[in-house]
Symmetry: C2
Subunit: 417 residues, 2 copies
């Protein structure tokens, strides 16, 4: 008998019919002999409806009340799912954050899970119930509700799996696993049987939307075995685990892209110590995350400073760069939103030489100019003109032979849906 | 400085605009120097939406999950009202049942409040906050949510007022007080300045829809001063207090009616001991409330048994009466839904003679036949043909001089709205 934590997102519980489908999946799993905890998000659209109500009252709602409000969507979906499971003959019990309890610390809107009580859940599981737990919410020591930020229900699922020492945490989503590239633009993309925590985090930060970084980080820290699965189809998904020797035979595991960055260039910056700090400190103070940074070779004591930020931060970043530029007596600010970041990710890169070179060469041969480069131990990212995104992904996918399964593993075709 | 508990129903918080209006009323009251606790229901329509979701999943949802589900409407409205108060410059904090805490005992769907913690509320009030408390919900010792049945938010408000030893509990509603009769059918109905707990309870059981009996009972037991007020207009309402000498000068305080009963007659019942028990025990076991009961004079060892039940219980009651009739070898069952109960209510009846007689006479002079009669210490009810309801109310209102304020009190005209 295994203990399984399943997580279903808002789309998977978006209608009563889909809630019935989730009830069926959870109950089948339990009838196979496993103990099952299901974590659910609010029904699709519900959290946005609640946010709109708050914002219609005031532009800046008090965050304590905002969290109290927007966490109610999960209270509805857990009760409905429990009722749905019971209506097909199962035993189920819904629990919200204060009932479990899940304790948080830190700020509103972005709470961090501190401690989870497992006694009540274990008791219910041992009595044959499926436990339906509310995602996205936690309570502080005073009983105030904190939400857990973007991807908060994934975080709840992983944290519950860690606290319960679960055998597996299954994340059900509208894709059926992690692919070597986005199958919508790369027809021969292949679903991966396994991927490492580090790779999936790099893929997420490189723009792949399968899992939120924070939940994977938590899974890695507590060694929670994760599976990414389709909530609509009954197919094997992708297992996210610690990197192992076998995985490292593959140099590159996947190609990711991100069209949500924009490039900002501050021209004619005096090439002196402390100059970059002037620019980036003000961005950091404004909680704007800077991703890639390039400083050109100095010419006659001046240089151009190029960096990328998320598109939603573009206007604020431009304003701050303007201020910094005037302070430094630098030149004009150029903004280019028509850029994309393409990345190759793989734990095998750690020990393989020439991977970055092959990437640059591939892009060059396709006539794609590289505007900026950033690397990590297991990732290389290039900023390119956005119009070449799909071409770049396909060329890289093919150059690194990703359509072919590595020796020793069975190849898998993507399911038609 | 007084401590005031205000309660606003679903209609009063049915839109963001109305929530803003409630925020304004609560804040003005606080700025007059009082401490204010506001109890709110779910936004109008929300509880019904949630009930429909549950019933669309299954006809008989588990009551623990049903309560968890339908109580979420209040979680939304308290947070929104707190945000609305803050947006106009006030301090506010929303609290749901487990945060206050309000503990319940008894069954789901019809929980009874057992204990209320007042420490957190007092602390917030002393810090200058308006406390916005969720109506209709309580938690048991295990933290399961119980709803409080029909009119549950009124019960919450009165219970909070009792626990906090509040100076006044204001019930805001879509009428602006308690009238001597329904102003929609009796144009010269007069708003009462004061009414006793007992009278308002009898008025409620006689069909007047101003307050739920349970909350008035609670107010009476804990001597909580109640005021019934309009949430939309700024008018003096009706105060509900202990009966006093002055009130008893008036024999009849009001006329009420109820069209939601139906008459069932079991004919040719053997006139023997235990016969009535056979019929009414089965109805009681099915939780069907029988209101009026009449047993005709026996004729040759047989009698007709007539009683009334709520219209929603009609079909079930008929089925049970059929079974009982077969068992007793009685005659056919006659159902008449076209009946109405008209009642006169007043604490002064206790010491006045001839009140019932005057009522029967008044109805008789208007050509209205009385089908059944029931009385209490401060009420007389007559069952009549439903088509005479409005006529009967107007005739009784006039026969007992209710349009005229009793000596010593100022007469009030109904506000135009």
């Amino acid at each position: 008998m295994a203990l399984i934590v399943q997580k279903y997102g808002g789309t998977s519980v978006g209608t009563l019919e889909r809630i019935r489908n989730v009830a069926q999946k959870a109950l089948s799993r339990q009838r196979q002999g496993d103990q099952v905890v299901v974590v659910v998000s609010a029904m699709a659209g519900e959290t946005n409806r609640l946010i709109k109500l708050a914002l219609d009252l005031t532009e800046l709602p008090d965050l304590r009340e905002y969290d109290a409000l927007i966490s109610t969507g999960e209270n509805v979906s857990v009760a409905l799912l429990a009722i749905a499971i019971q209506s097909i003959g199962g035993k189920a019990r819904s629990l919200v954050a204060n009932q479990i309890p899940i304790f948080s610390e830190g700020v509103y809107k972005d709470g961090r899970i501190k401690k989870i009580g497992t006694q009540k859940i274990r008791k219910l599981l041992n009595h044959g119930s499926i436990v339906v737990a509310a995602g996205f919410q936690a309570v502080d020591q005073e009983g105030n509700i904190h939400t857990l930020g973007r991807g908060g229900s994934d975080t709840t699922a992983v944290a519950l799996a860690a606290a319960l020492n679960a055998d597996l945490c299954e994340i059900y989503t509208d894709v059926d696993g992690v692919y070597t590239a986005d199958p919508n633009i790369c027809p021969d993309a292949r679903k991966l049987d396994k991927i490492s925590y580090d790779e999936v985090m790099e893929m997420a930060s490189a723009g792949a939307k399968v899992l939120m970084i924070r939940s994977v980080e938590l899974a890695k820290n507590y060694n929670v075995k994760l599976a990414v699965l389709s909530s609509l189809m009954d197919l094997p998904g992708t297992l996210v685990v610690k990197g192992d020797k076998e995985m490292e035979k593959t140099v590159v595991s996947g190609v990711a892209y991100d069209k949500n960055e924009c490039k900002i260039t501050v021209s004619r910056v005096p090439d002196q110590p402390g100059v970059a700090a002037t620019v980036f400190k003000s961005l950091g103070d404004a909680h704007i995350i800077v991703d890639m940074i390039v400083q050109n070779v100095s010419e006659k004591g001046y240089t151009d400073l190029t960096f990328t930020v998320r598109k939603e931060d573009m206007a604020r970043a431009k304003k701050l760069a303007d201020v910094a530029s005037r302070k430094l007596a630098a030149g004009e600010i150029k903004i280019d939103p028509n850029v994309a970041k393409v990345s190759i990710v793989g734990v095998g890169m750690r020990s393989a030489a020439g991977v970055a070179g092959r990437m640059f060469e591939t892009l060059g041969q396709a006539g794609i100019n590289i505007q900026a480069i950033s690397t990590s131990e297991i990732k290389v990212s290039c900023l390119i003109d956005a119009k070449y995104t799909e071409l770049a992904v396909r060329e890289l996918h093919s150059a690194f032979n990703l359509a072919k399964a590595p020796a020793g593993s069975k190849p898998k075709k993507r399911a038609k849906n």
